[in-house]
Symmetry: C2
């Protein structure tokens, strides 16, 4: 698998004029090699070129991870003293003759730590933004990746169902969040969640990125729960909004509007359409209902090995949807000081349209 992916990388590199691509510890490195490294004080970098086997620079302490490497590579391992790391990078990269050449990097992942070692070891190489290549590689999911994403969705949905019985008037947001976290792990999520669950009731729901607080649920709250699981390194990210006891007419109204926007957004996607069009279709429902100014964020983001990745469902994004892409549709209405609603699904682009991987009911559900 890594061989095929590296071959596709080579094709993109040739197309974009990159002589090399350098990745550090993170999802793109894992995608291309099957290896897992943490971002630590000891840099791990792999350099891919068009002509040669990949060059791997890593701490000796991590070298055992290469024992069953399924592709040929040149390995340069360094010891515990940072004083020698620069030499190791130099030894590793000298023979690639990258001076004057274009080297693609990933600005969202590469730190100055690795960049400085690379820069010093590569002479006058030109380091350029290679994000497009990584996005092109990773945004089209293969069968196995889609299976992992379905599993991440199933774990998340089952974990929420197992949590809902304790969601009652008088229970604190953060206690619900803790229980949901445990249920995610118990239902099989990897322990590195895509993000800590958001549980925000009443006025707290008006902040899309609220942290679960000590506030206890009261009757009349709208309750936003935004959560996800990690299955084999692939993420899910779902939101549902609940009614705590009896809610008022406006709360019911905005939930209905967001539900319609979510349905329109899920249905909108098809190969050949722009990401911007998905945002516009979704947003239009909320705008026409008179709440446009209260939908304060983009409609969604790509999802896969990272919870947020390309493609972004943003009005100004002209990127074209292709089969195999996966992204969220998550319209919301946020009324400061009162309450908020968001309904989020994970959508897969298929050859002829869009399939929502998440299927839990989006109707308002009364808890408490």
């Amino acid at each position: 698998m890594s061989a095929t992916r590296q071959q596709r990388l080579g094709e993109y590199m040739a197309e974009k004029g990159f002589s090399a691509v350098a990745v550090n510890a993170g999802p793109s490195l894992t995608y291309l090699t099957g290896l897992h490294f943490h971002l630590m004080e000891r840099p791990v970098v792999i350099v891919f070129t068009l002509a040669d086997d990949p060059t791997i620079i890593l701490p000796k302490l991590e070298q055992a991870k290469l024992d069953h490497l399924p592709f040929p590579a040149r390995v340069y391992a360094y010891g515990e003293s940072p004083a020698e790391w620069s030499n190791t990078f130099h030894d590793a990269l000298e023979r690639l003759n990258l001076s004057g050449r274009e080297v693609g990097v990933e600005p969202r992942q590469l730190r100055l730590l690795e960049y400085d070692y690379l820069r010093l070891a590569c002479g006058n190489a030109k380091f350029n933004d290679g994000s497009e290549i990584f996005a092109a590689l990773r945004s089209i999911k293969d069968t196995e990746e889609i299976a992992s994403m379905r599993k991440a969705v199933a774990i998340a949905e089952a974990a929420l169902e197992a949590t809902l019985p304790m969601v009652k008037i008088g229970v604190a947001e953060k206690d619900i969040a803790s229980e949901l976290f445990l249920q995610l792990i118990r239902h099989g999520s990897d322990t590195t969640l895509p993000f800590s669950p958001i549980v925000s009731g009443g006025p707290n729901g008006a902040n899309p990125h609220a942290q679960p607080s000590a506030r206890q649920l009261v009757a009349g709250d709208l309750l936003v729960i935004d959560w996800g699981a990690n299955s084999g390194g692939y993420m899910s990210d779902i939101t549902r909004t609940f009614a705590v006891g009896k809610i008022d007419a406006e709360a019911e109204k905005i939930h209905k509007i967001v539900q319609q926007a979510n349905a329109a957004g899920r249905a909108a996607g098809r190969p050949g359409l722009s990401c911007g069009a998905v945002d516009k279709t979704t947003r239009k429902v909320i705008e026409e209902a008179g709440y446009g100014q209260f939908f304060t964020h983009r409609t969604g983001h790509g999802i896969g090995m990272e919870c947020h990745e390309e493609p972004y469902m943003r009005g100004d994004n002209k990127q074209i949807l292709e089969a195999g892409m996966t992204y969220t549709v998550e319209p919301g209405i946020y009324l400061a000081g009162r309450n908020g609603v968001r309904i989020e699904d994970d959508v897969l682009m298929t050859a002829d349209g869009a399939e929502s991987l998440s299927t839990m009911s989006r109707e308002i559900r009364v808890v408490g």
Copy 2:
């Protein structure tokens, strides 16, 4: 608290000749401001200068986090389209006149993403490694930080005790790791652990960074468990090695040697001594017992808001220990194909010596 810390930052900046310091989402930003942001595709940067209030650049979506900011700041918030982010950075930084000045950054935390926005917005500023400043600020822990670290240790020790009853012959490493994870959360750890617990039995223990596998414990295994908790953003990191049933004479011998090295290392630290001396004292015990070549890593690392931070207990590190520093002492012996031992404690430098925050018995304990 953030005011005092920012004042100390200013003193270090003046001393080192930095006109400004720029931090992105991460522990140093949290240390200096009390704010929490995730590393995401939307950059968050705070620039501290000597003459002016801090400048905060962040997404509008996160702006609510500044509602109760306990210090004055100039805030520049950007919208959802990356096309406008560059302008926001420019507006924010123009008035600081940093062209030609030195700006300190943290290469281990700053990504090219933030660096490129900063570079473009700051004219000809010189971005230099400010790691020393962040290390100087964060490596001396105050009373509150030490209390959090004690709590992180107590949570970790209690979680392991609660896990040990299920550690038996025939149980898989990864099942022990899952249970330990749940116990950490149940005992009060924040859900973002310092790292996923390492549980490695028999030959797997010979890899210091092994991932818990499906391998089941067998009689005669040495079992290495390396785990930690997070309490209020402060980490613990402890290792104990257990005997699964009856172990052979060499396993007993290497455990005893590592236990002696750990005791020597814990006792070695005192203010005024170099970090290198702690490594040497620890390593000498293992070398004199004839196993020097099998202790393949440094003796330890600083610990606090990050699991690995300054100061590093490495033979060539001349950095001087000061009261308030916290670091690990974790000697090990790794016999490839056979087994491994590591015993790790978290040590606090006090005015007159070293106190181990972790206190769980280091004697070999038989499980299974």
